[in-house]
Symmetry: C2
Subunit: 413 residues, 2 copies
Amino acid sequence: MPSAVSPLAPPEVPNMPVIAGVKLATAAAGIRYQGRTDVLLAILDKGTTVAGVFTRSKCPSAPVEWCRAKLKGGKARALVVNSGNANAFTGKTGRQSTALTAAIAAKAIGCGANEVFLASTGVIGEPLDATKFDGVLGSLADGASTGDWMSAAEAIMTTDTFPKVATATVKLGNTAVTINGMAKGAGMIAPDMATMLSFIFTDAPIAAGALQSLLKSGVEDTFNAVTIDGDTSTSDTLLAFATGAAAANGAPKISRASDPRLNAFTKALREVMADLSEQIARDGEGARKLVEIIVEGAVSKASARKIAMSVANSPLVKTALAGEDANWGRVVMAVGKAGQPADRDKLSIAFNGIRVAKSGARDPSYDEAEVSATMKEPKIQIRIGLGLGKGRDRVLTCDLTKEYVAINGDYRS
Amino acid sequence: MPSAVSPLAPPEVPNMPVIAGVKLATAAAGIRYQGRTDVLLAILDKGTTVAGVFTRSKCPSAPVEWCRAKLKGGKARALVVNSGNANAFTGKTGRQSTALTAAIAAKAIGCGANEVFLASTGVIGEPLDATKFDGVLGSLADGASTGDWMSAAEAIMTTDTFPKVATATVKLGNTAVTINGMAKGAGMIAPDMATMLSFIFTDAPIAAGALQSLLKSGVEDTFNAVTIDGDTSTSDTLLAFATGAAAANGAPKISRASDPRLNAFTKALREVMADLSEQIARDGEGARKLVEIIVEGAVSKASARKIAMSVANSPLVKTALAGEDANWGRVVMAVGKAGQPADRDKLSIAFNGIRVAKSGARDPSYDEAEVSATMKEPKIQIRIGLGLGKGRDRVLTCDLTKEYVAINGDYRS
């Protein structure tokens, strides 16, 4: 299904270091795709803590419900991810399937089923035959190694055109700890084609509660500030695992998110999350432009977010961007429809730093040729000034192209 | 700009009767388009009452602000509509332009500027040169006749592919009264390309306050229940004019919307509004399918509306419909993201009466070939059962095709 690599793919792929306490393995279980890997098993050392953030959908997938329930234990020994079938809207069968998958993994690894975390992405509404994991997870457990992060990121792809990884190394106390992350996206989010999944691993010794706080506060301006098409998957999942292996090298054990020794780690974690979420925008289905929308001068950050999302999700703004048209009239429209405080006559709009509208009318000084040239860039920043208060926010999106319609319309599931 | 007529255009155009007290005239003022009419003048007899409903945009156009202010008087003598320039986001110039247009029309007709109503649709952010109306409106006033409703509906088009009219004749007391309506749509709504405008005329003698109540209650399940792309124009305008001429034939003068003699009229008015709003869905930009979304069993009508709109505005549902794919997984996704009460395991979904999902899973009895065949129909009904309560709602939309992207992306404004 993946087509040519997005022209917005990052030019360089980072070298992914080992995370002590994490072993990875992938396999082709033939769940839906042929000729590619579709199962990832991550094995986590004893003592690994876990935190998670999930879709806000009222109709979540069976694996999301599974993870939510198991998160209470705060401990993880394994992560099993499959692509090709989302195990969503599968009723009782879906719940049985998650239980069976976890049982198979628990047996292969020698842990409790409650310590196995699951994520599935792919077709919705089709029963996931968990017996397919039966032989597979055992072999994976035997062959797992500290090694290949790129293969892991590839195994979880659906319509993604490139694997998404990010890494950071930072001091915790006087000890270097590492954070590795991977993600998949593509639509934000088609249950049948995409779904945002992201998994983050670190050797830092951080208690589950503290890790959960970090994840929750970090997600707001990273994964939750990205939209491809305004659609929300039944399966969106972000899980973070902390093996604690760095404690053996002297890293302090952290039990509270407010611990000042965490500052550098918190910042690095956020950067990994921001990096991965930006890669999701860069790989939006059919995307040809990475679009950053900055709203300033709103009455609050929450109001700025709503306005930024209204612009980011407007089909008319997104098609104009695909057409390389600095159509600020559509931006005005999208600001107006957001239902948030806005004063037309104080509004200003700039594309890539070139102000095209101010004080509720066209900026008489702007140079049409200059604006036309900048709209050809692969990255477009729309800066909207409301002139009302100090609320500011930023979201990332991409343009809406005929390829998006083709990817999502030119096939039969 | 308009391309081939939408395949969803109504096969028959109604014969539009005369409305006593209304005269129409159109002209080509060259505001933006060449070789077509772009100004409509409707002259209304003394005593005509007026009601209006407008965009909820926080950044409304200058004509919307003008009409809102003038509506307080409750009286109308003229309506001036131009296509090609929306006079939106034009700052002080925009306000001057509306005042000047109204003054020119008032002079041509011999009425107060406060009795002139205005609507503009077209490019946003460009000053509207109202002096262009100077000679034009005088000639139009001289040549206006009771006649040509189709020409009137054509003059207000932008990316519409067919003019939209509807009519009804009904008894008020023992006297026949007539309701004529026209509308334009296309995107719902691009300020630069489309905008929903609708004008309704009747000879029934109805006080402004009563007319306003009828309009407001009627709009909820007609114009407000249609979405093309979830975008809201700065200029959406619905105006109703009642000349009262039928009083001369014995029609009773109505002062309250609750007057039981209005029942048949109210129903007919609603039918005209429903007809016009359905035509807007039928002429959505790039539309190849008329899509009706019915939500039943919600906790309330308001909740059903939010869920229906979430489905109607989902790019993934709309692209699936364009692909003739009965992709109920995406419907589940859109129900889930609406944020309204929904129980995944009670959900049922049917396409054109064929149930594909029930009790939170695929309906084992459905026939894939039958569903595939029905998805090729030009009209698709998606019926969603929530099984929670008695809330029900219905909205109309269309599919999202590559043509929509082309219309809105393949040009420079």
